[in-house]
């Protein structure tokens, strides 16, 4: 909580991708075919893309466009039907379940639409759940301070509002100092005002910790805060653009 008070807030977000470095993820020719009963669903149909170190990328698209599938593959929750995806030097498509678990444990932070907090653990404990198994975690209290919840450490999920719960989820995701933060509709279950508070938290993490961040949304407004916006449609990349000028989260509205 001290951090929040002492760290000077940037008056203006940088106008160009700030600390974008090498590609963290490289995906080539990703396809994913599901079988839903007797129907084949082509969720991804040959996607090529990269995610660069330090950038905040927004994956935009209507529901069913394949964006969640793509995120799940990047996060090691799912494997592609064909194509390759590598994280730094590791080919994720050849890893088995145990190796994927280790990959998630060591490198990835997740934020979900429905927060997925553990109801029997307090905010602090939900965060420490992850820090206990991480190699170089931050203090849970510090992580919660970053998302503005330094005062509500010992509340159980049932005692927190939706926005607060989602910020606990973000704190839980960043507390292990992940290499990449993957967020699936993080504001999907929240009203606009609360959603913005959550986005601010994400923006701050990306800026101050330099965590590579990918955010999935169907809300085009959110794309304005990204360094780069990738639009998916029916399983292929329909559009990709750089934001010359990022909008601060608090200035968004929908």
């Amino acid at each position: 909580m001290t951090e929040r008070q002492t760290a000077p807030a940037d008056p203006e977000p940088p106008s160009t991708p700030s600390i974008v470095g090498d590609a963290v993820f490289v995906a080539r020719g990703l396809t994913k075919v599901y079988r839903m009963g007797e129907v084949e669903v082509h969720a991804l149909r040959g996607v090529d893309m990269e995610l660069y170190a330090g950038e905040l990328m927004v994956l935009l698209g209507p529901s069913g466009s394949g964006k969640s599938t793509l995120l799940n593959i990047l996060g090691g929750l799912d494997v592609p039907t064909s194509g390759t995806v590598s994280y730094q030097d590791h080919d994720l498509t050849v890893l088995d379940d145990a190796a994927l678990t280790r990959y998630r444990r060591e490198h990835v932070g997740f934020v979900f639409q429905f927060y997925n907090l553990i109801p029997s653990l307090t905010a602090r404990e939900n965060v420490s759940l992850v820090t206990e198994i991480a190699a170089d975690p931050m203090d849970p209290a510090d992580a919660l301070a970053i998302v503005g919840l330094g005062e509500r450490l010992d509340h159980f999920p049932a005692q927190l509002s939706g926005g607060e719960q989602q910020r606990v989820a973000i704190a839980r995701a960043i507390a292990k100092q992940p290499d990449v933060l993957l967020c699936d509709e993080p504001t999907g279950a929240l009203d606009a005002a609360t959603g913005i508070v959550v986005l601010e938290a994400l923006e701050r993490v990306n800026r101050e910790l330099g965590t590579t961040t990918a955010v999935i949304t169907h809300n085009a407004v959110i794309a304005k805060m990204a360094d780069r916006v990738v639009t998916l449609s029916a399983g292929v990349i329909a559009d990709e653009r750089h934001n010359d000028r990022k909008t601060a989260a608090r200035e968004l509205s929908w």
Partner: protein, 787 residues
Amino acid sequence: MTALNRILFRDLWHMRSQALAIAVVMACGVATYVMSLSTLESLQQTRRTYYERYRFADVFTSLKRAPNALAPRLAQIPGVGQVQTRIVVDVTLDVAGLSEPAVGRIISLPHHGEPTLNRLHLRRGRQIDPTRRGEVLVSEAFADAHKLGPGDHVDAVINERLQQLNIVGVVLSPEYIFQIRGGEVLPDDKRFGVFWMSYDQLAPAYDLDGAFNNVTLRLMAGASQPEVIRQLDNLTRPYGGVGAYGRNDQVSHRYLSDEIKQLHNMGVIAPAIFLGVAAFLLNVVLGRIIQTQREQIAAIKAFGYTHVEVGVHYLKLALMIAGVGLVLGVIVGVWMGHNLAELYTQYYRFPVLQYRLNPGLIASVTLIATAAAAVGALGSVWRAAFLPPAEAMRPEPPSGYHATIVERLGLQRYVSAPARMVMRQIERRPWKAALSSLGIAMAVAVLVLGNFSVDALDYLMAFQFDTAQRQDMTVTFVEPTTGDAVYGVGHLPGVRHVEPFRAVPVRLRAGHYDRRVSIMGLVRSPDLFRLLDTHERVIELPPEGLVVSRKLADLLHVTPGQLVTVEVMEGQRPVRRVPVAALLEDFSGTNAYMRIDALQAFMHEGPTVSGAFITTDANRNDTLYRTLKRTPRVAGVTVKHAALESFRNTIAQNMLQMQFFNMLFACVIAIGVVYNTARVSLSERSRELATLRVLGFTRAEISSILLGELAIVTAVAIPVGLVIGYGLAALLAIGLDTEMYRIPLIIDRSTYGFAATTVIVASVISGLIVRRRLDRLDLIAALKSRE
């Protein structure tokens, strides 16, 4: 089929493994109920018919010698329906293939036709022809034990003369449904047999022409048994009557009654445990189903279904599970009942043991099982029925949790986050955890209780036949005889040590309580037949006065220092008051002991003995047996080791079978509880566990969260179950504290170990079955949906 019923069947199919686990627990309860009570009814019905058709007597007595002219006077006692006088003698037998002597009881048959009372059922062969010498009928138990049949013969020493008994028929008698010699602790079909012989041939051998030494009576309806016994005793006393007794003291009848009582206990206790556990499981599982189907319930109600319809829908689900258990249980119960009845024919000899299933029993078990299911389902059904539709449309609010006692005590830093999840889960619903624990504890208790009888019996055997009684054989004389006889026994081949005893049949009276027993006169510091209390301490006989079983003192309501009236039933029949010097905690019979010299003085007799305990040189036993078989004075020889072994062999198989069923029952309970609790936890927490998997927890780690709760519940259950098991064993020991036996509350440490291990293994297996489902956890779906 209505739409609701279609939902019902699909739900049932969806939860089939859980439903089956509950149905099996229920089936065990139904099966033990049906088995015990149907066998009990069959035994009772068979016994009743047998007694009636073969005219089993109501009152029994023996005497020394009474002229046949006494018989009409006995028949005139008010309330007496029929009288059967006869001769009953015990003889020494020499059976081919059996080196040691056996004891034969020969009962006379009237000159012409069948006896009026205690008629015989001819199994094989024919009736005796009174004109042919040495023809006998033999009891089936003895015949089977020696593979004897019509045409075979055994040798008997009848009143000092060796005589060949020619078997012409094999029979059953209502007096010997359970064949055991009075005064013995163990049945031994090989060494005790009953024979029936013509009165005309038996009477002369014992100088009983025109006389009898045994009477049985049948009473008229409404007669007072105690009054008949009193008058009978008055009439037989001058002829050496030793006191009459009713059916309740008749050995065979009493064993059978005890068995019936035990079946009844089993038919009540076991089903209560199983049905209680099944009701609990229905409560847990149905509760969870209703929780997950909130929105469905809301929709159904929104369509216009009534509260009652919704309630009935879920009640039906419970009743269908119970129905499966009921059908399964009845089938298994009938099958087990058949087997048990079959097993009983090994011990209890009936002409036919007709296993019959009373439709009323099926009706009562259906009612009981339905009630148990309804009780289990009640809470959940109620909640479903009165769930307001609008509220049900919304998902259930997140569950509230609190810091547990561990944290309130400030110990949280020693506890990891996953461990805290486990602890809070338990603390949030302590009743559920407690009842799960109790369920598993019952499995442990069932095992402890089951093995307790084995442990107790083992201990009792060792105590009675190794520690206390160290003789190899007991030799009893035909008549009380002089001390010379003991000297004679001491000089038989292979005899090492001899210890004489004097046994005197008496009636002990104190106030208006009385009991028929034998006073056993023992030497001053017995070496072979030692008096030990339940702590295995040697009890010294005082120079004067009686040492009696604690049970006997209870029955007579006397305490040490008080006087009892001793009425001797033989010889000069002295009556005197004797002090009770001390009580003896012992395990079988109602015994009274005295120093042999004091007893002889009391009897106004010289050094008279009834028999002797001996130890022998095992290498020379065959020679000894041969000599004993031909020794006229010897009425019987009990070979301790042989009797013990034959008993152990008979019960070993049954014990094994019983242990198998106990184990099966315990595993059914343990698996039923653990599996269902784990499935419900998994259903409640799959989203949470999937989240953890996504966050990088391994399968092993999330398994430990899911199964940790069960591990704690099981860990708590085990000591609780051991204590409950001990308590039930203590209750059983109190319940079985009868004149015949006292069961020592001895539970071997290995029994505790076995019970704990079995239940842990069963729990682990069911835990692992559920754990396999964790491998199929859909990580992505869990993230996409609200709970």
